[in-house]
Symmetry: C3
Subunit: 301 residues, 3 copies
């Protein structure tokens, strides 16, 4: 039963996803109705690497439901520095909280931790692994703006390293979606992810150039191309410039194209886009609150 722990987006069936998104929608429409839902409950926050946005969003969700948080703080100030194992840390902290939110640099950390505790664990990112609540808030935003069935989505930028992208692409295979992947050759989806999508029966195409496909899209999901991926600074600038969204690029976009981005952005979307009706990335970030409220509401006993 997925409600014991939320470890990956893959564990969620289409029905599970819809349950969460429906509940999030109800909560967004009437947050007052769930205000005391977590009265007297505490959410344990274990962030073994920084993630302001995700952490604040979970904290907000818990508090909007009337609950509280206890935060392990940074690794530098924790028992981890004294050599404590993750298994021990979670077994101690489960005594303080009614559910744990875990962010960890090692892939598989949340799954491993879930074997040691009795309270629900929510994976808030495990290295190159999973970040299911990001996927859920992405799906929620897509559903609110364009609907999930019959959707044509472009996913652009760094498709090779992006955990967010892989997870979202997989989750979209539950719905009737055309997925267009747009990236430079060097940052294509990894073969394993393409295989996985193929196995799941996804309707997928890859492109090096956005312009051909842009007019057909309902949603364009942009991700950051990281400087660190390129040995050569000039090559980085050349490529980043080609995959940047600005007013010129959007001249050919459908009027109701929704542009999303997991944030933080650096240069990949020009500030002028913020003023247009296309920009949905701040709303997307804000949607993290009702989606996480829905999860806590569904998962906590």
């Amino acid at each position: 039963m997925w409600k014991d722990h939320l470890l990956t987006a893959k564990q969620l069936s289409r029905g599970d996803v819809e349950t969460v998104l429906d509940r999030a929608g109800e909560i967004a429409a009437d947050p007052e109705a769930v205000r005391g839902r977590l009265d007297g409950r505490l959410l344990g926050l274990l962030f073994f690497e920084p993630s302001t946005r995700t952490k604040m969003s979970f904290e907000t969700a818990a508090k909007r439901l009337g609950g509280g948080v206890v935060d392990m703080g940074s690794v530098e100030s924790s028992s981890v520095k004294k050599g404590e194992s993750l298994a021990d840390t979670v077994r101690v902290i489960e005594g303080y909280a009614d559910a744990l939110v875990l962010r960890h640099p090692s892939q598989g950390a949340a799954t491993m931790a879930s074997e040691f505790v009795d309270v629900p664990i929510i994976n808030a990112g495990d290295g190159a692994g999973h970040h299911p609540t990001q996927t859920l808030l992405d799906l929620y935003t897509i559903r609110e703006t364009a609907g999930l069935d019959g959707l044509s989505i472009g996913i652009m930028g760094d498709l090779k390293y992006g955990r967010t992208v892989h997870s979202l692409a997989h989750a979209l295979t539950n719905f009737d979606v055309h997925q267009h992947f747009v990236s430079p050759e060097s940052l294509r989806l990894p073969r394993s992810v393409r295989y996985d999508l193929h196995q799941a029966g996804a309707n997928v195409r890859e492109h090096e150039d956005l312009s051909a496909v842009l007019p057909t899209l309902d949603v364009l999901y942009v991700t950051r191309i990281q400087r660190e991926r390129f040995p050569d600074e000039n090559e980085y600038h050349a490529i980043a410039g080609e995959y940047r969204i600005d007013a010129d690029v959007l001249a050919d976009a459908p009027e109701d194209l929704a542009i999303m981005h997991p944030l933080p952005r650096v240069d990949e979307i020009a500030p002028e886009v913020d003023e247009t009706a296309h920009a949905r990335y701040f709303e997307q970030a804000h949607n993290g609150v009702p989606v996480r409220m829905a999860l806590l509401d569904l998962m906590l006993p």
Copy 2:
């Protein structure tokens, strides 16, 4: 309307100041009466540089009103490190909170941020710029101890660099106050501030020596002279010693002289002063709570 945002003390009319101080006084007299005022509300804390005292005071104020906080944490652990702009950060975090408290090393940061968000922003210090809630708690303390009209106040120490001093001096021009500035020549009020006070019709005199004016004062506001301002360690010690308050200095002080200090202090007020009835600096720090409670009460919808 100032209640949209509180960016500088200058934006407050005499009437505005009195509204805040009156409300703070009511709250201090009966804190129970406002205990549920912020039930279910969250204050976003964005401290881009450390400021324990101010942050704790805002957090206490929010919680004493029944509200909560969501804290961005240190810059080192935030998306800022990934190159996110201040405008993006505040636009994301406004989705988590009902008002934002912003501390930032750059002058003008709060004003800039206020142009991007719909929730109220309170400036908790922007570099060499403003720190209006410090000014309000200073005014509140002065009013409680000596009254604001007909007041004779000495302001002593580092008058050149002190944001706190400039802001307080300006705010006092709304009232019938004699202001005596006491400092070494090298740390005089900057010309621009003197001009500003002159334009505002302030009643101002400058002194290098405290002794002549001390017997006439109702309040002496002491600030720290920072070692870093002096190229020569000996010169620093000579000057700091001359502007230090101890029992000897206070022998000539009026019996009901109130000594204030924005804290933290280092050596500029001797510990022996703490035991006297003159010492009002801890009470001054504590007054930050009712004053900030009053602001949140007035500013939050």
Copy 3:
């Protein structure tokens, strides 16, 4: 009256200890009954050195009682860095909170701080000094598992430097307890502690080898032997290996032996022990919550 401040375990009479443990037991049995006990109250957390576990446990305790916390944060981000004295810091922060929890690297810090404030101070560890709430949760766990009178307890590991051990050993002199200290010669209890226990009429024996005494024990309290104490890495490994608990060692243990550890552990208890009924160290850590709830309940006005 100890309820003004809790500075050392030594200040607590047998009656005081029993009052706290009894209250903790009631709270553990029915936490709902005290859920609103600290409504509207704030606990100030001043941790001048990191201690995740203790801090989270106090935070949980306050919140489970319906109260909140205001946290000074790390020393790096505080006014302490500007040269503020501890006396000033606590005098400012007492204006924000209804009680203070203080952790400080200097022995005597909590006692010193208690002379400057009117709100209750709870010592959460002062260097080589005291950590009375750890002692209380240890006593609570012992009482729950084996009872305190007629107890035979082994205390093993680093007995020379361990503040936890010294404090627990002293507290046990209030009860009818046989204490067996097991350590290498180089990490024996300090002479001053042995003298102190002798003066208190303790029933104490020292051993270099666990095997002889193990079959007689009700409780074995294990502590970490720190690598830093040994100039020679090989010597450390030899000794740490001798004082390590694993399934082989436990073959000779009484069936109902309770193994405790203040945590974090590194290697001194093998993970295989976690699965046995002997393991009580996670429960011990969790007991910090009801014990600290009991203290807050008893100490806050």
